[in-house]
């Protein structure tokens, strides 16, 4: 066999194995989750000791907390990203700042959770709640938005920026009217991944949002999410159908995260198609 073929076979083999592992996990979830599936699980409250519990509050908490966390962290993170790419002086300390931001992303989420716990719950007396959990997610998301946003913005060709400045645009006008619109498809794509990452977060939420749900949604109501519920039911669930409830929760979580990622991709692709990029990027 030729050398190139052998490496092709090796890399293809590794890919197949990796995909098989992911598929296996999904199949396990589907097997248990779909076994006693009923759509009413989406609208019912969870049951602690009896079977047939639902995940309605967890679903609402997940969607609302992730959405609110993005609302807090995306604008602030993008402001940092714009400053890093278009305003920061070409100095050494700016390079270090970027490295620190990248480093922040590798801080374990549980540490972020504990810091938020100490500040909000211990310090300000907030309950374990939707609010505390949302703030924890926002803090967790902030450096990621800043770093990814800066990467996306710096991929907008510099000659576009110069073209705008040469027309008499100020820097801030160039950011608002050219850079952000030009980067929009890539930013939307990243928003999908960011949404998925936050929806799957557990460690930062156990200490901040808690492992309970309230009778109604509220900023200071307990804020258990789907991912936390999955973890809780798998490890400590006392309901007879715990295996099924956990798997169903996992399936719903996988579905909404995949939906977010795919939806973002489609949205971004639509914008690109409208702009004619990829159709014929000539000259």
């Amino acid at each position: 066999m030729k050398r190139g073929r052998r490496w092709y076979a090796v890399s293809a083999g590794i890919t197949v194995v990796a995909l098989a592992i992911v598929l296996w996990v999904l199949l396990l979830l589907a097997k248990d989750g779909l076994a006693g599936w009923h759509w009413s699980r989406l609208t019912r409250f969870p049951r602690e000791l009896r079977s047939g519990g639902g995940i309605a509050p967890e679903l609402v908490n997940t969607v609302s907390m992730v959405m609110l966390a993005e609302c807090f962290s995306a604008p602030v993170g993008m402001a940092v990203a714009v400053w890093l790419t278009d305003y920061a002086p070409p100095a050494a300390w700016v390079g270090w700042l970027k490295r620190v931001l990248i480093g922040f992303q590798s801080i374990p989420a549980i540490v972020v959770g504990l810091i938020v716990y100490q500040t909000l719950v211990d310090g300000l007396g907030w309950p374990l709640s939707v609010g505390s959990g949302t703030i924890a997610l926002a803090v967790l998301n902030l450096p990621a938005v800043a770093v990814l946003g800066a990467t996306v913005l710096s991929e907008v060709p510099g000659r576009l920026r110069e073209g705008s400045l040469a027309l008499g645009a100020t820097r801030i006008q160039t950011v608002w009217r050219l850079m952000l619109p030009a980067a929009l498809p890539a930013l939307i794509d990243q928003l999908g991944y960011s949404w998925a990452r936050l929806a799957g977060e557990t460690a930062a939420l156990i200490f901040t949002a808690g492992i309970n749900v309230g009778p109604r949604w509220g900023w200071f109501q307990p804020g258990e999410t789907l991912a936390v519920h999955f973890w809780y039911v798998r490890t400590e669930g006392a309901m007879p159908d715990w295996r099924m409830v956990a798997a169903a929760t996992g399936l719903v979580l996988v579905t909404i995260t995949a939906g977010a990622v795919l939806g973002a991709k489609l949205w971004a692709a639509r914008i690109l198609a409208k702009r004619g990029v990829g159709v014929s990027e000539r000259g």
């Binding site: 576009l160 110069e162 073209g163 027309l167 008499g168 009217r177 990029v277």
Partner: protein
Amino acid sequence: MAAITMERVSVWYGRVKALNDVSLEVEPGSVLALIGPSGCGKSTLLRVLNRLVERTPAARVAGRVLIDGHDILAPDVDLALLRRRVGMIFQRPVSFPFSIFDNVAYGPRLHGMKNPHQLRRVVEGSLKQAALWDEVRGKLRRPAHGLSGGQQQRLALARALAVNPEAILMDEPTSSLDPGSAARIEELVVHLKGQYTVLIVTHNLQQAARVSDFTGFLDRGQLIELGETSQIFTAPRDRRTEAYLTGQFE
């Protein structure tokens, strides 16, 4: 139309001197071609005139540059206003990732034009001036990226014209285009003569001879010679100019 005067202008990039004591005058409404070997400072000279040169880290400019008698290097100069008066098109055509209409309307919108009828008039007028109107009428909502390279360069020209500049800087505007598209840009330059002061940097000597009233030859940051184009090409005064024009250079 703007009269441009440079008095003893020098530019440094860090310790490298890119432009050395250049003095020149450009008559309003005329076309000045700048020729010279790569790295001689032609583009730097253009970028001094709209002060894009300052975007290069560690760039420093000395001397005086007057446009219609105003010192544009003064610290209190409104850069946005200066760049509105001195338009620029680049070597590779720059199309923003928007529709053809929004590309041309970008400048007028920046400067506060909101009325759709007014915008439409400006866009149509600018596209006609750039000789692109007949090819894109009825397709103004289509993406600019769908145009050919030559069309995109004319679109860039239309976008520059839409803010009503007095001078236009062209940095090798045809070097990335095929001969046919290049010829159309040349026609446009000749056409714009008299209405705008044009400075065009080019590596194509025939092009300089065809489109310009005056030609300046730069070498290693120095303006060696500047004169009427016919004189430069037929009877250069400096030995180095002659050597460059006859291909005996480097």
